[in-house]
């Protein structure tokens, strides 16, 4: 499906600015974040163009959200109507494309989602549920889509999306972002290359501060597009954060509105979903206009910020990026060998322990993650998760995630494992997520 060169494409636009929702009145994620974007889109008359069709979002069902996330103490404690409508906006965009009503769609919605992981103990990086992941689950469940690629063009590493799909070899996640050593959330390096059964399905491209249009476009042309071509996705989703913009208050990149429009033009994503971007007056109106025109196959060459002055990317940045591209090409070539290596002597189970911090909620979470490895099929993974510091006190949850690719055998073994762990009785709640089977089942002890 992806990479069609469509003449005069039609674009579905889900515009949901959530004018009545904010994290707090002065938080970057506040009511008027998309006000000026609305002004620009309406003033340009974009919604009157014959090849642009506006769609309303819907309220995402708890079922579809539970196909992705496990909450502590539960999802209802954290997920508000606004989150469900934002995810529902992404779903409406996916429906418009997959029903064939439009060629592409852009869900211009908030609140965002790409820092939200499988486990939801609180709010991370302004995100509570991962709206792209919920949309991807919807596409697999309702339309039988298998291979999905998500390209995250937000300036921050999409650590939530990485977490959700880290063990899924059929979902390619590519994130380019300002280097984690200089920006939240501090992750997103080359060696986070996918779980043991999904090596090569997680691509992080950490870029130096001051990267401009030139650098990003080169990364797109020389890395992102060739990797996508190798992966052969049915659907490409653009997790379309806009904070690489030169005016963004939370980051240090130098990309312009026209640069964003060119990236979108190169990518030819089927569906784009808005993520971050907090220069609400100086960037968002123009970046969004550029993206809409570009996705609709219209002339974006006249889109320009009023305060635009030509920006030259520093030579040391250009050099750094050139070297990074070379290193990456090498790693991509070796992905099959690396995948084979990691399984040597790994046995049936692979384990790792790590911690996650929820910056908005001040919650620490500790996880023990286990993956069941099979030589020929995708196995379950589980998370034993313990958190402290939040409004609901200490939480201890065990979550078993059955892959959407599961067959009868892997599904049965996942249930057996859950029962075995339940006997040990360390946690308050035991949850099994069977996305294309029985959905989410919770046992509270």
């Amino acid at each position: 499906m992806w990479n069609r060169k469509i003449d005069n494409p039609t674009l579905g636009l889900v515009f949901f600015p959530a004018f009545d929702w904010s994290i707090s009145p002065t938080h970057p994620e506040r009511q008027e974040r998309l006000l000026y974007t609305r002004d620009q889109i309406v003033e340009e008359g974009l919604l009157d163009l014959p090849n642009i069709r506006e769609y309303n979002p819907m309220v995402a069902s708890w079922d579809v959200i539970e196909g992705v996330h496990v909450g502590a103490p539960d999802l209802q404690s954290w997920v508000t109507d606004a989150h469900r409508v934002s995810a529902g906006g992404a779903i409406a965009a996916a429906d418009a494309v997959l029903k064939g009503e439009v060629d592409r769609a852009f869900a211009l919605v908030r609140p965002p989602g790409h820092h939200a992981m499988r486990m939801v103990h609180g709010i991370r990086g302004f995100c509570t549920i991962n709206i792209e992941a919920v949309m991807a689950h919807h596409m697999r469940k309702e339309y039988g889509v298998k291979r999905i690629a998500i390209v995250d063009t937000d300036v921050h590493h999409g650590d939530g999306t990485q977490d959700v799909f880290y063990h899924d070899p059929d979902t390619l996640f590519i994130s380019f972002h300002q280097d984690g050593r200089t920006l939240y959330p501090g992750t997103g390096f080359m060696d986070e290359f996918g779980g043991p059964q999904a090596i090569g399905s997680n691509i992080n491209i950490p870029l130096p501060p001051n990267t401009g249009d030139e650098g990003l476009l080169k990364v797109m042309r020389e890395l992102v597009i060739p990797i996508l071509e190798d992966f052969q996705p049915e659907i490409v989703i653009n997790s379309a954060g806009q904070d690489n913009h030169f005016t963004d208050p939370l980051a240090n990149m130098k990309v312009t509105a026209k640069g964003y429009a060119q990236i979108v033009d190169l990518l030819q994503a089927d569906i784009a979903v808005l993520e971050g971007g907090y220069a609400v007056q100086d960037a968002l109106p123009y970046v969004n206009t550029g993206i809409i025109l570009s996705m609709a196959g219209l002339d974006y060459s006249r889109v320009m910020e009023p305060n635009y002055e030509p920006i030259q990317q520093p030579t040391n940045v250009t050099q750094y990026i050139d070297e990074l591209i070379e290193k990456w090409k090498e790693q991509w070539q070796q992905r099959h060998a690396m995948a084979a290596d990691i399984l040597v002597g790994a046995g049936e189970r692979w384990k790792q322990e790590y911690s996650v911090y929820y910056d908005e909620s001040g919650i620490h979470e500790h996880r023990i993650e286990t993956v069941r490895l099979y030589p020929d099929t995708v196995g379950w993974h589980s998370v034993e998760s313990e958190s402290s510091g939040g409004p609901y006190g200490s939480q201890r949850v065990y979550a078993m995630f059955i892959p959407w690719q599961a067959n009868t055998r892997t599904r049965e073994e996942a249930f057996e494992e859950l029962h075995r762990i339940q006997q040990e009785g360390r946690c308050q709640r035991y949850v099994i997520v069977d996305p294309l089977g029985e959905g989410q089942i919770v046992t509270v002890l």
Binding site: P25, D39, V42, E44, G45, V85, R302, P306
Partner: protein, 550 residues
């Protein structure tokens, strides 16, 4: 007494209303090549035995401006635009626009001002007589537009400014409005001269008003400044006629006006007709002209019935009267006569019509099939209109969680074929159908009792201490309003003043102002300073001065 005149394409109607009673009405075929003839005839008919000195107000509705536009006979206009960066609009307008440099941003700040010294240079060699000017975000600060407009006025007989016609966002729509405003000005002017002449000949000296597409009326003098607003007054008059019949109760009602050629569909919520979302389309161009949401579909009592590729098709054309009335081809009306649901003309000819359509079938079975086809079209038309209404953009969480959908609760039928189709429609759509005692001159009644309206958009930016009302050309600096309640009160006051100045009411009591939109946003700059941008749209209430018994 009120005099309403509706100059339509087929008929010219007039009605005199006294209190809540229609005291007299008249109907004549419109004389297309010289409208004066039919207007004079209908005035003579309707004023027989009436003391014309008692007429307090004359209101017109007309398709004259509409027809000029439909036929593409409007005047040439030079269109000047200031777009700044953004979408390519080279091919968006009825003419190739003349681009002027400059840019106003979404806060209404003039980022780059047009250098007026270049204006003459920018003008086309062969100038039109009329011009229009439109600036992107000109509604947020009309200064540039007015400056350029004033300079152009030295070279053109008329210049229309986009932001004076609408304070709403949407630069292409305001531009289209401005263009057509200049393009139809002379048509309306000529029409006014004809009507005033006819009225004077009858000794009628009451003030003359003209209906707008949004159902409000304007004194003719003001209308001549905004002639584009008088397009599509026909459907507006129908909607007001329905309004005046006082049949629109609580709930969600679909009104169908089934005429000879078309069925006009309008939606009503709790007694109020719904408006078009952003404005009407003028030819293929979306404009900022406010209007009732009236959709026409090609089904009427005289819709022609034919076999097309072996399938019965009803409408969308009307080729002539029904065969029962001496026409040459069978119509929906003939089918209804055959089924005993309509009783006019010759029953035998109606039967002959069905036989002509298909000699091998039973005429009743065939007639039923014809009606079913027409009903399917009507049902589809209603569904499309309702779907469109329910697709209106929703921008706040609360509106989507508390779903407010239009669900058809009742159908109100008016027009020539209303009685004969009522039971069929009720059966086909499973919705109760009401047919009020219909008046043959609904449009003229609607015009006669229309209230006068104007609309303004008031915007306050507290950081810049700026107050702007583009429709009034008002830009006030040093504004100290800080709260939305104050802004709303100010908008109401300005609108009242504007209404009094325009002669739309004699005192504050008679002027009903309503708020039709409020936006109130905090603006955080540098993360701390708390300022606000507040917008209030207010209008004089649309509606009727009297309910009329027919």
């Amino acid at each position: 007494m009120l005099l309403g005149i509706d100059v339509g394409g087929t008929f010219t109607d007039a009605v005199i209303i006294d209190g809540t009673q229609v005291v007299k009405w008249a109907k004549r075929r419109s004389t297309k090549d010289n409208l004066l003839v039919s207007i004079e005839e209908v005035l003579r008919d309707v004023t027989t035995d009436i003391d014309v000195q008692c007429i307090e107000r004359v209101t017109l509705s007309t398709t004259v401006v509409t027809n000029t536009i439909v036929e593409g006979k409007e005047d040439d206009v030079d269109l000047y635009i200031v777009t700044g960066p953004g979408m390519n609009v080279d091919h968006l307008f009825p003419v190739v626009p003349i681009f002027l440099s400059g840019y106003t941003d979404h806060r209404g700040m003039v980022v780059e001002s047009y250098k007026m010294a270049n204006l003459v240079e920018a003008m086309p060699k062969k100038r039109a007589h009329k011009a229009a000017v439109s600036v992107k975000f000109g509604n947020r600060n009309p200064l540039e537009e007015l400056r350029i407009g004033n300079a152009l006025a030295e070279h053109y007989s008329q210049v229309s400014c986009g932001s004076m016609l609408s304070g709403a966002l949407n630069f292409p729509r305001r531009t289209v409005s401005a263009y057509f405003n200049s393009a139809v000005a002379s048509v309306l002017e000529m029409f006014k001269v004809v009507v005033v002449g006819a009225l004077q000949a009858m000794g009628i000296e009451a003030p003359l008003y003209i209906l707008k597409a949004d159902g409000g009326s304007l004194p003719i003098k003001l209308a001549l400044e905004k002639p584009v607003e008088t397009i599509f007054t026909g459907p507006a008059a129908t909607v007001l006629g329905l309004y005046a019949s006082h049949r629109m109760e609580k709930g969600h009602i679909v009104a169908l006006d089934i005429g000879g050629t078309t069925t006009d569909i309008s939606l009503w919520v709790d007694g109020q007709p719904l408006m078009m979302r952003d404005g009407v389309y003028i030819r293929q161009y979306p404009s900022a002209v406010r209007s009732f949401a009236v959709t026409s579909i090609g089904i009427g009592g005289e819709s022609v019935v034919r076999y097309v590729d072996g399938v019965i098709q009803v409408g969308p054309e009307r080729v002539g009267p029904s065969m029962a009335l001496g026409g040459d081809e069978p119509t929906l009306g003939d089918a209804l006569i055959v089924l005993g649901h309509a009783h006019y003309g010759s029953y035998e000819q109606a039967v002959a019509g069905m036989k002509k359509l298909n000699p091998t079938m039973s005429v009743e079975v065939l007639a039923k099939e014809v009606v079913q086809v027409a009903l399917a079209t009507i049902r589809k038309g209603i569904e499309d209109v309702v779907d469109l209404e329910n697709k209106k953009a929703i921008y706040v969480v609360d509106d989507i969680v508390q779903e407010r959908r239009f669900v058809v609760e009742r159908i109100l039928l008016v027009g020539g074929s209303a009685y004969s189709l009522a039971t069929f429609i009720e059966e086909a759509l499973h919705v109760p159908v009401v047919v009020p005692p219909s008046a043959a001159v609904t449009n003229a009644i609607g015009a006669a009792v229309a209230k006068q309206t104007i609309e303004i958009t008031l915007r306050v930016d507290t950081k810049r201490r700026l107050l702007v009302v583009p429709e009034l050309g008002l830009e006030e600096r040093g504004c100290s309003l800080r709260r939305i309640e104050e802004v709303e009160a100010k908008a109401h006051q300005l609108l009242r003043d504007a209404a009094l100045t325009a002669g739309l009411g004699s005192d504050e009591e008679t002027i009903n102002v309503e708020t039709i939109g409020v936006e109130d946003f905090p603006v955080i700059e540098g993360w701390q300073s708390k300022e606000r941008i507040m917008t209030v749209r207010a209008q004089l209430q649309v509606g009727v001065t009297h309910y009329v018994e027919s």
